[in-house]
């Protein structure tokens, strides 16, 4: 890595396929995660991404156990089990949300605890900590290949298609579930499909930023965009721009300084969030001062 970084980043993109895959994968996830994250935030389910990512880790650990310890190499990549695991986690969350109608958030810590416990168990059974586990916890964007880019392209295209086709229903269910029910939107089916999509996106994001940082990819760019967005579409657009800046910046820094990619992406996201908050506060204070002067001048 240190040797590669002697080549300037822009040149390296053309020279090394791994860097092109990393940037392509990052850009795709950087587009789709805030898109989904916006609806997650409106529905006040920010914690669900974290829960599903922890439950995915259980799938990853079971996958590593099956592949490394039992020798079931036909599974290919533990990522497939992470996807299945996230979908199962999503099902359990929906069932528990049905049981605890007035305390729906209870479902999250239950599923997260189960996921974390299973992860610890199977990590131990598969021989303890390894570089694979480290990569899944904190991301390994620079190691992705053509297969991964292919999978996320298909999933992202599907997600985008769903959002475009069901845009009205998504907005109605997210902003006003009761009204959506009145005008005939089938809420249960809608919730089920959206949780399923979320599970897919979360499990695929693990490669980009890792289990521990997945929710940040989905939530932080939207949190920053909410501060400056003038409308719903404008807010989503800004969040995608922030997300893409952090992905490109994160890969760049990671390449130049040999830092973990997931961490650099998330830290740039956090930096943007604080910067936006600071700049907005500055302008609000400036406007208040101008108004005060205008009133005093009269």
């Amino acid at each position: 890595m240190m040797l590669l970084s002697d080549v300037p980043f822009i040149m390296a993109i053309f020279e090394y396929p791994f860097l092109r895959y990393a940037i392509l994968a990052g850009l795709i996830m950087g587009f789709v995660t805030p898109l989904i994250g916006s609806f997650v935030i409106i529905r006040r389910l920010s914690f669900i991404a974290d829960t599903l990512s922890h439950f995915s880790l259980a799938g990853l650990s079971i996958g590593l156990f099956l592949i490394n310890t039992l020798g079931y190499t036909f599974i290919g990549s533990p990522l497939y089990l992470a996807i299945i695991s996230a979908v199962i986690g999503a099902f359990i969350i929906e069932i528990l949300r049905g049981y605890y109608q007035n305390y729906k958030e209870i479902s999250m810590p239950i599923v997260m605890s189960l996921g974390t416990a299973l992860s610890a168990l199977f990590i131990s059974l598969s021989g303890g900590w390894s570089s694979s586990i480290y990569n899944f916890l904190f991301g390994s964007l620079l190691t992705v290949g053509q297969d991964y880019v292919g999978i996320i392209s298909i999933v992202s295209a599907g997600v985008l298609l769903l959002v475009v086709v069901f845009y009205k229903q998504l907005v109605l269910v997210s902003f006003d579930e009761q009204y959506a029910r009145l005008v005939g939107v089938r809420i249960n089916i809608f919730q089920f499909v959206s949780t399923l999509v979320l599970a897919l996106v979360v499990s695929l994001s693990i490669v980009t930023v890792g289990v521990l940082l997945v929710s940040s990819l989905m939530i932080i760019p939207v949190a920053a965009a909410m501060k400056v967005g003038k409308s719903f579409r404008n807010t989503i657009t800004i969040s995608i721009i922030f997300s893409e800046i952090s992905v490109i910046g994160g890969v760049w820094i990671s390449y130049e300084l040999d830092y973990p990619t997931g961490a650099t992406i998330v830290l740039i996201n956090i930096f943007i969030l604080f910067l936006v908050g600071f700049v907005k506060r500055f302008y609000v204070n400036k406007r208040i001062r101008e108004q005060k002067h205008a009133i005093q001048g009269k």
Partner: protein, 221 residues
């Protein structure tokens, strides 16, 4: 032609072991204006939820335009204006136009939407972010939304809570005009004296029991 729009027949509804509505019956024709009054917990909002199909009705029945509501897949013909902070998520940026576009199930034209915004007096707010609106302005947005799907009936659940007096008067002026156009209105309120509504019927709820009365007004000179 006057048709029976709503027929609530021997409606009983309860949560777990507590009966909230006890044998409620009334009939409203097209163009009627019902005010439902009662203290907190008297069953006003429960009644609304029953009419809107959000509470499953049994025993008893609710028939709208000769069709039992249990067979309804959508309540698009009923415009519903909820209490201000009922369910709507106000904090995420979204403009008036964006929320109206998403609610436009009947696919009315942009011109018709602008006409409705103008009629309700909020045309200039169409590109405003909803979290910049006052309580009165928000209620008007909800009225426009409820009118977009050409409702035959409008249900207003305590629509003026937290709205200043000037806007309350403007609000009821609008509601009276809509009623004159033939839309049946059901207004839920805890204080009948607050409203300048030209109601034709009153349903008083007390501990789940209802007294339904027609209001006879003296002919204006």
């Amino acid at each position: 032609m006057i048709t029976v729009r709503v027929h609530v027949n021997n409606l009983i509804f309860g949560y777990d072991y507590r009966t909230v509505l006890k044998d409620i019956s009334f009939k409203l024709n097209s163009g009627d204006f019902l005010v439902v009054i009662g203290n907190n917990g008297s069953g006003k909002s429960t009644l609304v939820k029953c009419i809107l199909g959000l509470n499953k009705v049994a025993p008893g029945s609710i028939v709208l335009d000769d069709v039992d509501i249990t067979t309804f897949k959508t309540f698009i013909n009923i415009g519903y204006v909820p209490q201000k902070f009922d369910d709507f998520n106000y904090e995420f940026p979204i403009t008036v136009n964006e929320i109206l576009s998403a609610s436009n199930i009947s696919k009315i034209s942009d011109d018709k939407r602008l006409e409705l915004l103008d009629k309700i007096g909020i045309l200039e707010l169409q590109n405003e972010n909803i979290n910049n609106l006052s309580g009165g302005q928000l209620q008007r947005v909800f009225i426009v939304r409820s009118l977009m799907n050409k409702p035959k009936m409008l249900i207003l659940d305590e629509p003026t809570v937290g709205v200043d007096q000037k806007n309350v008067e403007a609000f009821y002026k609008t509601v009276n005009e809509l009623n004159k156009e033939g839309i049946t209105i059901i207004l839920i309120t805890h204080n009948i004296n607050e409203s300048n509504a030209n109601y034709t019927h009153v349903l008083s709820l007390y501990n789940g029991e209802g007294v339904f009365k027609e209001v006879v007004r003296e002919e204006e000179e």
